[in-house]
């Protein structure tokens, strides 16, 4: 494992009832890199993230995060990661502050530490002035930002962002982008999945395209686009459709 690699995914596999949802996936993520994981619905992105985040047992292969094996030492891995899931995994009836403090306490912070971290993260996502408001009253974009802020409570070295901008207005989306870029500048390693190709193009240094449980392409956005012609004219969506086909995908 090169010294610059913070994440090493090695021949990762996951079978559900005999079906290989993830089939021999391998890639590395360098420290401080935003790495994009793209693919149509059912490609195996979320399953890969769930295994990396220790919530889904691995069928085969391994993931090394910060030198710790997800398979053998999941507790150590959990110290290093923050997860911003696709769904809004928060308590709508509680205030934004209460949500962040609660998850901070679950990360082992004392009440004072959790309060301090919560206010810092709410400031980061632009919601400090709404800290004590019930999340249920927030707009979709604000809820997404709370969802992201929760993932930052333990100052993670590796942040999983699973489609963090779904259903978000342009203002909130730009705010989330600024936050992500700020985190990268501070050295946080980020694994990013999205269906919005322009997001991946803007944020990710490298992108892996998955389909049917396998990585079918892995390169920088520019190099990927070069496969179809002039990278200044070809879009990432063009290359995505070229790689994965135009057939409709309905699987979750």
């Amino acid at each position: 494992m090169p010294e610059t690699d913070f994440v090493l995914v090695q021949d990762l596999r996951k079978a559900f009832n005999g079906h290989m949802a993830v089939d021999g996936v391998s890639f590395n993520i360098e420290k401080g890199e935003i790495f994009g994981l793209l693919g149509p619905n059912g490609a195996g992105k979320t399953t890969t993230i769930r295994m990396m985040a220790t919530t889904l047992p691995i069928t085969g292969g391994d993931v090394i995060i910060g030198g710790h094996s997800v398979h053998r030492n999941p507790a150590e891995v959990r110290h290093l990661i923050g997860v911003c899931p696709q769904e809004l995994a928060l308590y709508l009836e509680l205030s934004a502050l209460d949500n962040l403090v609660f998850f901070g306490r679950m990360e082992g912070l004392s009440k004072a530490e959790a309060l301090e971290a919560a206010m810092r993260n709410l400031e980061l996502v632009g919601l400090a002035d709404r800290a004590k408001h019930r999340v249920a009253k927030f707009s979709g974009g604000m809820k997404r930002r709370v969802n992201l802020a929760i993932a930052l409570m333990n100052k993670p070295e590796l942040l999983f962002l699973d489609e963090p901008t779904v259903g978000v207005d342009p203002q909130s989306r730009n705010h989330i982008f600024d936050t992500i870029e700020g985190l990268r500048d501070q050295g946080t390693t980020i694994l990013y999945t999205t269906h919005y190709m322009e997001e991946a193009d803007r944020l990710c240094r490298r992108i892996a395209v998955m389909d049917a449980g396998r990585v079918i392409a892995l390169d920088t956005p520019r190099n990927l686009k070069s496969r179809l012609g002039d990278p200044d004219k070809v879009t990432l969506e063009d290359i995505f459709l070229d790689l994965t086909g135009r057939r409709l995908r309905d699987a979750g």
Binding site: R50, A53, T54, T55, P57, P74, A75, R78, H79, I81, G82, V83, P85, E87, L88, A89, L90, Y91, E93, L94, D98, F102, F103, R105, M106, E107, G108, L109, S110, E113, R134, I150, N154, K155
Partner: protein
């Protein structure tokens, strides 16, 4: 960054309590609805202090004895007599509008005169408790009438033997007069002495209601864990440093706190409103309440562990609550039940909880009485068994770690 593990379950419990308090609908159903139920029950069952029944009589007799029986029956304060024709009685019996009809057959007067009183009863099933009592009254009056006729005939025979001629109607009238006098001034009298207020209905219904309500809210609280799974917060929690054991302990503590809040509120209200406790019995009640909640909260965890969706958890919770409420004697005493009911009732949480609560409230027993210690032991054993089952199911589901 400090790692303070010991308090984690309490933080989860605090969050659960906060969510409970902020959910105004849940709060209403958990606290206000039971209060409404208590008052409804007291109003419904508490007002009827004395026994009262209606006797439905069909008089097919053409002589005067049938009417006389109806008159004497009507004079009984505990009875209201409704005279029906035979067709109406049969039709009302057919639709179960009434369950019992007393038929005075044709020739009833002649039979009474011969000292062989006979009445007929048409009924549905056993005829209902009130109907059976009305029949007993009617039978007693019929026997009384037949006895009076026999006495009159004997008197006539004795007078004839003595060679004294007294007209039959005169003898009948005189004997009737003497019997009427003895009915008005009986040699045997029953005096009633009230030694205390009527049994307070709230005392009778409170334990059953409290066990039902806590069972309902705690089993429904299981939906909370299933919802955590559904909306993704459980999986998110499992990416933190939280362990499965800490999560379960926290959820359980949260359930316990909510149940305790309910019990303190309901018993506290009963104390203030009805003055049915002493400070000692109130303290014993709360302590027993905690044990009962510990027991049923284990059941909540089992429901959470076996349910895949919140809807499924809801149905399982309602099913368990209804079955246990009926079998466990929340609203009628099943302690003297025999056969299958006796066995089934003892398998429910409600049976042991109700028994303990009733012993403390009604009999004033202390927590150290052998019967209550048995209740506590069984409730704790049920809690332990539920925990084992819940943990096994959570492991099988592979929730998190």
């Amino acid at each position: 960054m400090g790692r303070s593990k010991a308090g984690v379950p309490f933080v989860i419990a605090g969050k659960e309590l906060k969510l409970f308090i902020k959910d105004t609908q849940m709060l209403f159903f958990s606290l206000a609805l039971p209060v409404v139920l208590i008052f409804l029950m007291v109003a419904t069952f508490g007002a009827q202090a004395r026994f009262h029944a209606t006797a439905y009589v069909v008089n097919l007799d053409r002589g005067g004895r049938g009417e006389e029986l109806v008159d004497r029956l009507s004079a009984i304060p505990e009875l209201t007599v409704e005279v029906l024709d035979e067709a109406t009685a049969d039709s009302r019996l057919a639709t179960s509008e009434i369950v019992n009809a007393i038929i005075l057959p044709p020739g009833f007067s002649e039979a009474v005169a011969a000292g062989r009183a006979q009445i007929e009863v048409r009924r549905r099933g056993a005829g209902g408790t009130e109907g059976q009592i009305a029949v007993s009254y009617a039978a007693a009056i019929a026997r009384e009438l037949a006895g009076e006729c026999l006495v009159a005939e004997r008197v006539k025979a004795v007078l004839a033997g003595m060679g004294t001629f007294v007209p039959g109607p005169t003898v009948d009238a005189r004997v009737s007069e003497l019997f009427a006098g003895s009915r008005d001034n009986p040699r045997i009298t029953v005096t009633e002495e009230t030694v205390g207020g009527r049994p307070e209905p709230v005392v009778v219904f409170l334990p059953g209601l409290v066990t039902m309500v806590t069972l309902f809210s705690i089993t429904l609280g299981a939906v909370g864990i299933v919802e955590e799974r559904k909306k993704g917060t459980l999986e998110r929690l499992m990416t933190t440093r939280l362990t499965r054991g800490e999560f379960l302990a926290g959820q359980w503590l949260g359930t316990l706190s909510k149940g305790l809040l309910q019990v303190v509120f309901l018993f506290g209200l009963a104390w203030v409103a009805f003055r049915i406790f002493t400070p000692a019995s109130f303290a014993a009640l709360l302590a027993f309440g905690v044990i009962a909640i510990v027991s049923v909260s284990g059941l909540g965890l089992v429901i959470a562990a076996i349910s895949k969706t919140p809807e499924q958890a809801n149905w399982i919770a309602v099913f368990f609550t209804m079955i246990m409420t009926v079998l466990g004697g929340s609203f009628f005493d099943v302690s003297g039940a025999k056969g299958a009911l006796a066995v089934l009732s003892r398998l429910t949480y409600n049976f042991w909880a109700n028994d303990g609560l009733r012993r403390i409230i009604v009999k004033g027993e202390s927590l150290t009485s052998p019967a209550i210690l048995t209740d506590i032991t069984v409730l704790l054993a049920l809690a332990a068994a539920s925990w084992v089952v819940a943990i096994l199911f959570f492991r099988l589901r592979g929730d998190g770690k």
